[in-house]
């Protein structure tokens, strides 16, 4: 069975959940071979094995993570040439999509991005125009490269050998042209990553101020979820930009999405419409968000949300 390369998404050795989702998807397409870039594999190997990595190609050279994107692309291109895999899967994060795109240019291969599912033959499923259309696409030439949206495919364990093989690549000068001189890690706190969280609670215009976002945070914390914000809220400076859910922000696909004081403009819906269960609290009964919900309450969020938080905490 042909290999399917899975680029491991990790931060300093901590494997992102999307990697396990990619390994799960890769098992339908061939034999998963994880590609590890940078240091820190020791603590992560077990997890990759648990989710079906038959092999792990390890490129630990620090040079590969000292420059923007291009080194990972050259490594993957070399692995494609050497191992002739059936295809390559990456996470459809900002950087993952860039890796997919550059690799497609390098290999002159077709690329599918931000798919919510991938089936045998590397047929990708896309949810486009804010979830209004489901489209299937496939690659016509080259080695299929597919970037998969985090949280879209359920990760399932299926233990495999995870046999390590050290690999190295000689980088071109062009790959070393955008140098990362400093990494700035911003306080993440205890909450899960927005794009990986099973539960996301988002606040919008109705929240009214930065201080009031505490209501959203309290509800998210009661559910062990992540906090998101609509563009209205981030533009107003009530919550940091990186938590914006929507067309120009993050796309999330959690098991449960709770929209608080968000009207549900298309801009926002594009970023959350593939959530499995949707709940909304809004004082306007005509708010478009109610078209999407499984359960909605028309009411004052300052009454309803704290009561919900209290009720959840009571039931724990």
């Amino acid at each position: 069975m042909a290999e399917v390369l899975v680029l491991v998404d990790h931060v300093d050795g901590e494997v992102k959940k999307v990697t396990l989702e990619l390994l799960t998807a890769a098992r339908r397409l061939g034999e998963p071979a994880a590609v590890w870039v940078g240091p820190g594999l020791e603590g992560a190997k077990e997890k990759l094995a648990e989710y079906g990595a038959a092999k792990i190609y390890v490129a630990a050279d620090e040079e590969l993570t000292s420059y923007v994107v291009a080194p990972k692309v050259e490594l993957l291109a070399q692995l494609v040439a050497d191992k002739s895999p059936a295809g390559v899967l990456v996470a459809a994060t900002g950087e993952g999509k860039e890796i997919a795109g550059r690799l497609a240019v390098k290999l002159d291969s077709g690329v599918l991005t931000d798919v919510v599912d991938v089936a045998e033959g590397f047929v990708g499923e896309h949810s486009i125009f804010g979830g209004a259309i489901i489209a299937h696409a496939k690659v016509k030439r080259g080695t299929p490269i597919v970037a998969v949206r985090p949280n879209a495919i359920a990760a399932e364990p299926a233990p495999a050998a995870a046999a390590e093989e050290q690999v190295s690549v000689t980088l071109s000068d062009a790959a070393k042209s955008a140098k990362i001189v400093e990494r700035v890690v911003q306080e993440k706190g205890e909450r899960p990553d927005l794009t990986e969280a099973a539960v996301v609670v988002s606040g919008g215009r109705g929240v009214g101020s930065a201080e009031n976002f505490k209501i959203i945070e309290d509800l998210a914390d009661a559910l062990g979820g992540a906090v998101g914000a609509s563009r209205a809220a981030t533009d107003a400076g009530w919550y940091p930009h990186q938590f914006q859910v929507g067309q120009t922000g993050k796309t999330v696909s959690p098991q449960l999405y709770i929209a608080v004081g968000i009207s549900g403009a298309i801009q926002h819906r594009a970023g959350m419409q593939t959530s499995k269960t949707i709940v909304a609290i809004n004082k306007d009964p005509d708010a478009p968000i109610f078209e999407l919900v499984d359960f909605g309450v028309v009411g004052d969020l300052f009454q309803v949300a704290p009561q919900l938080t209290e009720e959840i905490n009571k039931r724990k």
């Binding site: 291009a70 550059r102 042209s177 140098k179 990362i180 067309q247 449960l256 499984d294 309450v297």
Partner: protein, 259 residues
């Protein structure tokens, strides 16, 4: 400094967007065209850099005839001139074909800096700026929330999942910007009037030296095999708060085993 801003005209997010039934490409006639929102931030950043360092800002777009609307807006904001790559042979190009076509034009017109929005609101692939950097063999300074130029050195802050990276490179380079970077200006009346006199060069694929078999639907390396309207979500339950709205949601969440 010669700055080229890549601009895409996209269907207005607020109007109904659909795919054509015959070839599953975007039906550009079905919706009003507007300038891709993130590209306005790219234009603004180019104008700010020009104001600080001098030079010229050229708008480059690939798209049908009516993409001139977006060109006019960019010129009204303050760009100096525009190049419009327009050819039926380009219709249906995928990101690979599009990046190739734009590379060909950039090779002809030259640049010190290319600035793009980080993604378009229609296809949302987020790949084009990185693909351009790969094709042009220049530094990729994408997903930038801050750009500084100091002589021939360019420094950006690149947004990451964990915060940001400080990245440094030598010009020429490709930059993509996120909306955090600035606040795009509105065209002034004077700007709108001035835009009418600014030069717009129209290029065909052949003019730009683009090989026809590498672009368009036929040159695409991927294809849409089917597209259907998503089934509408089952109508949910909506209640009006009578003092127990929070409790009602909790009961719903409990019924779904979330709590």
């Amino acid at each position: 400094m010669n700055i080229v801003v890549c601009v895409k005209q996209v269907p207005d997010t607020e109007s109904p967007r659909k795919l054509k039934s015959d070839d599953n490409t975007l039906d550009r006639g079905a919706a009003d065209g507007v300038i891709n929102e993130l590209d306005e931030y790219a234009i603004e950043e180019a104008l700010l850099l020009k104001e600080a360092h001098g030079g010229e800002v050229t708008v480059l777009t690939m798209g049908p005839e009516k993409a001139t609307d977006s060109i006019r807006k960019a010129l009204a904001m303050g760009a100096d001139k525009a190049v419009h790559l327009v050819d039926d042979a380009l219709a249906g190009s995928d990101a690979l074909g599009t990046s190739y076509a734009i590379q060909q034009v950039l090779g002809r017109i030259g640049f010190d800096l290319v600035i793009c929005g980080s993604e378009s609101t229609d296809a949302r692939t987020g790949m084009l700026p990185a693909m351009l950097a790969e094709r042009l063999g220049v530094p990729q300074l994408t997903l930038s929330s801050k750009v500084e130029i100091d002589g021939s050195t360019i420094r950006v802050q690149r947004l990451t999942d964990y915060g940001y990276d400080k990245v440094e490179a030598a010009l020429p380079a490709v930059v993509s910007v996120v909306e955090k970077i600035n606040e795009p200006r509105y065209p002034s009346f004077k700007g709108i009037m001035a835009a009418k006199k600014k030069p717009v060069e129209t290029l065909s694929a052949a003019d730009a030296g683009i090989e026809a078999d590498k672009v368009g639907l036929a040159g695409a390396a991927s294809e849409v095999v089917d597209a259907t309207e998503a089934p509408p979500r089952a109508k949910g339950q909506i209640v009006t708060d009578e003092g127990d709205g929070g409790v009602k949601i909790a009961e719903f969440l409990a019924s779904k085993k979330f709590i």
